[in-house]
Structure formats: C-alpha cells, structure tokens
C-alpha cells in the first residue's frame, strides 16, 4: 500500500481505461452489472447531492420561506449579501480569519511533532495516541461546552490570569479574543494531520538522510532539503482537506456563543450565519445563495492550491 492517495493517483485512475473487450456481449453484461452495483450510489447522487445542489441554485434566486412557493427575485439575494448585509460581511471576515490562522497553525504543529516522533523515539505509540485523541473528541458538543468553561468568565484561563496577578479576563466575552478560543480548539486537534504526516515520513528512504549525514549536513539542513520537499504532496493534501473542514466549522461557534455568533459578531462563522438565516429567520432563498457562495469560495481556494501546486509540490522523478 503506497498509503496516501494523491491527485496524480486519481488522474491515473481515471485515465486507466479497461482493455477493449473482444466480445460485445460480454462488455454489455459487464455494463449492466456495473450499473447494478452502482444504482444506490447513482440514486444518492441524483436525490441527495446533484439534484439538491441544482435546486438550491434555483432557490438562491428566489424569496422562499418554506411555507409559500418560492418567488423569483433575480440576483437580489446576492446583491443584498454583498452590499446591504454587514453581518454577512462580518461572517466572511470571521471565517477567513479562522481559516487563515487555524489551518496553517495546526499543520505546522502537526509537521513539527510528526518529524520529532519519526526519530525512533521510545514510546512513540503512546505519544501518538495522546496527540491523536483530541481530533476524535474535538468536534463534539461536549468539548465545545468544556471550551466555553475554560475560556469563560471565572473559567480556567481567567483563573490563570488571576494566578499571575492579572485582571481576570473572559476570552469568550471579549470580541478581540473570542475567535481565538475557536482557533485554539482547531489547533488542539492537530493529531489527524500529524498521523498523515507520519505516514508520509515513513515513505522517505533512510538512505537519503544517511547520505546527507555522511556529507556533513546538519539536521535542520536535512529537514529543509530532504524532508520538506519529499513531503510536499502530503502537505498539499492536508492543506486542502483542512481548509475544507475549517470553512465549514459550525459546532464550536454555535455552542460557545449560544448560537448568536457573539460577542459583536466575533464568532459568527459563515455556517452559523447561514443557519440563522435559513432555520431561525426562514430565509431559505438567502441561505441557499450563501451556500453557493461558500461553494465558490472553497472552489477558488482549492483551485489556487491545485494550480500553484506544480510550483511547490514535488512528485518525484517519474513526473510526466
């Protein structure tokens, strides 16, 4: 098992055409059998993915409250979003800030710890397990509630301030700090990208490091010239995945702010505002438009990652 699936694997898979069948009947029965296996998935794509995505595109041009029929209003939802809705703009700002800090910080932490753990350390299994547990638990409501206490008034952080003789501060009710509690929560879950990095590090041939050591290259030099370049496909993979997750974060902001996105919209995640519009105010046309803009944003970020990847992602010598 080569481990991680890369973009190149995927395109190779798509291009790998099955050999031509000599007998048409056989290929016909293969066709039928293939589609029989694929029926549930195809129905799912139709009814739960593709269909709804198109319907929501239509709804985004309407005024719709679930009770009466959708009313066509053209581009009004989109125009309102960007020109008349300061809360929407705020939610964009909050989400971008979150993604821009949470993703690189957690990836950097993951990379550093993976590199350290990869050096035949005793008890690596235990460390790996301890670092990984938060990624399993971190998305839950329970942890969000814990975070609310830790960073709340008279919470742990506030107590720690007092301990060091500082005035007690509730991060959660301070607009400039509130988003950082959520960024910290994301970074706390660096365990899963760390595991992916570890798997990647195992693939790098030892001989490269030995050769470098013989040539007298210090550790940091080996890291910069061997580890980093050979790990770029995995950094790329982690970056894209983490970005998609981060853009869609919802639970911690909802729990920590009691669904308000406060204080002063400082934790108003994009998805949280979408939820408020769609399911508290029943502006479902508006929520659909927001969903599509989110898709466009994620699409743009993914496109940037993919199109710049050939300048910084190293795929070995067999690159075509």
């Amino acid at each position: 098992m080569s481990g991680l699936l890369t973009i190149r694997d995927l395109s190779a898979f798509i291009e790998r055409r099955p050999p031509r069948e000599s007998r048409i009947r056989k290929s016909l029965s293969e066709n039928v059998a293939g589609y029989i296996f694929l029926v549930p998935w195809l129905l799912g794509i139709l009814f739960f993915v593709g269909g709804p995505a198109l319907v929501s595109l239509y709804l985004s041009f309407t005024n719709f409250n679930l009770l009466s029929a959708p009313k066509w209003i053209g581009l009004q939802n989109y125009i309102q979003m960007f020109t008349l809705d300061p809360q929407y703009i705020a939610s964009l700002g909050v989400t971008f800030t979150y993604v821009l800090f949470a993703v690189p910080l957690s990836l950097a932490g993951a990379l550093v710890l993976a590199t350290v753990l990869n050096r035949d350390i005793k008890g690596i299994g235990l460390y790996r397990a301890i670092y990984y547990v938060p990624s399993l638990l971190g998305g839950s409501v329970a942890i969000a509630i814990l975070w609310r206490q830790i960073f709340g008034s008279s919470g742990l952080v506030s107590k720690a301030y007092e301990f060091f003789g500082l005035p007690p501060t509730s991060w959660i009710s301070t607009p400039s700090h509130a988003l950082w509690t959520l960024i910290i929560l994301h970074v706390w879950q660096f365990g899963s990208p760390m595991i992916i990095f570890l798997a990647g590090l195992k693939q790098i041939p030892r001989e490269l490091y030995e050769a470098a050591a013989v040539d007298g290259a210090p550790r940091w030099r080996q890291f910069v010239s061997i580890t980093l370049p050979l790990l770029t496909p995995i950094i790329f993979f982690n970056l894209v995945l983490q970005m998609i997750y981060a853009f869609q974060a919802f639970t911690p902001a909802f729990v920590v702010s009691s669904g308000t996105g406060g204080p002063a919209n400082s934790t108003l995640f994009y998805t949280l505002y979408l939820y408020q519009q769609g399911f508290a105010n029943f502006r479902m046309g508006y929520a659909s438009a927001m969903g599509w803009i989110l898709l466009v944003i994620i699409g743009i970020f993914a496109a940037i990652a993919f199109s710049t990847s050939r300048y910084w992602v190293y795929y070995g010598n067999d690159r075509d």
Partner: protein, 300 residues
Amino acid sequence: MAIISVGTSATTRVPVQQLSKRRKHSTARWILHIVLIACAIVMVYPLIWMIGASLKSDQAIFSNNSLNPFPANLKFDNYVQGWVASGTTFGTFFLNSFLICIGAIIGNLISCSLAAYAFARMKFKLRGVWFALMLGTLLLPSQVTLVPQYVFFHALGWTNSILPLIVPKFFGVESFFVFLMIQFIRGIPIELEQAAMVDGASRFQIFSRIILPLLSPALVTTTIFTFIWTYNDFFGQLIYLSSQSKFTVALGLQSFLDASGESAWGPMFAMTTLSLVPVFLLFVFFQKRLIEGVATTGLK
C-alpha cells in the same frame, strides 16, 4: 530501522570521544522526551480537568484551587443529577444517538462497498465521469445541498424523525468511504476473482463471497468512523430533530446548557464526560485501525 539500532547497541570497549558523543546524544533524547511529555500534558489537561470537575462540587469548580484537576473528595451526585436534569433522561439521548449511528453504519457499509466494487473492478460506460463526480462531492460543502434536502424531507413528513439522518447513508453519499474501499479493493489480487469467474461465479457471488470478506478491515474502519462522525454530528441533528424525546446526546447536552445557563457545571461536566466515553472506548479498542484509516485516506 535496523541501521539506526547499530549506533545504540551497547559494546564493551568504546573510544572516549564516541562515549561523550553518545552521552550528548542521550541528553538530547531526554530533552526531547521532556518537551513531548510537556506537550502531551497540555493536550490532555483540559480533558483530565473536565473529568475532575465532574466529580467536584460547583463551589470547588470555581474555587481558587480550581486549576488543580484532582477533586479533594469524590462526588458522584453530579452524574445522578445530570442524568435526569433535562426531564428526558440521558438514557433516551444515548439510545437515540446509538440508533442513528447503527442506521448510518449499516447504510454506509452496504452502499459504499457496492459502489466501491463497481469503481474498482468493473468496466462500464461513463465510469470516469462518475468517478470524477464522486471526487467532486468530496469538495462539495454540505451547505450547498442543505436547504433542498430539508425541503424534500419536510415534504415527505420526515422532519423530527431520525430518517433524514439515516436514509441518505443507504445511497453512498459519504464519498470518503467509497474512496477508502476503492483503495482497499485495488490491493486485493485480481487472480482470485478471475479464478472464481472461470468457475462460473457471478459478479454478485464474487462480491459477496470473495471481496466482502477480504474487505473486512476497510469495513471495520468505515464502521468506526461512521460511528464517530454520526455521534459527534450536531448540525444535522439540530436541524432535523425538534422534540426532546427524539434528542441525541449532542442535542441533550446543548439543551442542558441552554436550560441551566452556567449554573450547574458539575452535572454538566458529568454528562459531557459520559458523552465522550463511547468514542474514547472505540479509540482504545481500535486504535490501530483508526490510525491506519487516517494515514491512508485522511479521514478525520
């Protein structure tokens, strides 16, 4: 691996210079371990603190000594109080969560394995197109399909039931698992299937008698991750479930928080601690599978 161990294996006569080098080396190791342990403590401290708080009185949680995670004397009342605090007991919430998880697991196992087998082994028209589409859905944020799905389930009269949370899973909507299984099936030697085909086995027989048993590691991974994702999910449950008797653990905790404000942290933390137990146990028993699953596909 073997090469590295040469340097550390003990020998009786060692030049002085090399000895001091080794000593330096081992100090570096010690520092490394101290840093790693410090990191680990920072990581688990919130969890340990929460477990401690679930056994403390509310006064103790807010006392000046609150940074110490270990309770002075154990107080199990919090668990009793928290369990029944919401009118509906947490027993119901756990049961509802488990029901949804089981439904989702069965759905994912069946639908994803069927689709994965077709993609991995069969030749049919538009295979590349469908495959690309499946990759696309990996990038597709669920918010894009959210409203029409809700309208659809609303029209069917399925809101405030667990059906919207289970039924889609029977149609392979979680592409990650299709993916995981395709990867795995591609690693199974094709000769097994060719031999069975020569013996006149049908595609479905090959799938059920050869592929499924060999696929079991991937099926276990799918089961565990489906459980964890479904159990931790909040958004879907928040939207579709509205009466308290249908609430899951996640919704139960949230409504407990809404109802008690921040006045009952002890019972609150008793329930949050309890709510993490199922996922934690899964981790303890299936650690290797989980870590492998993450390493090969980037599941969360």
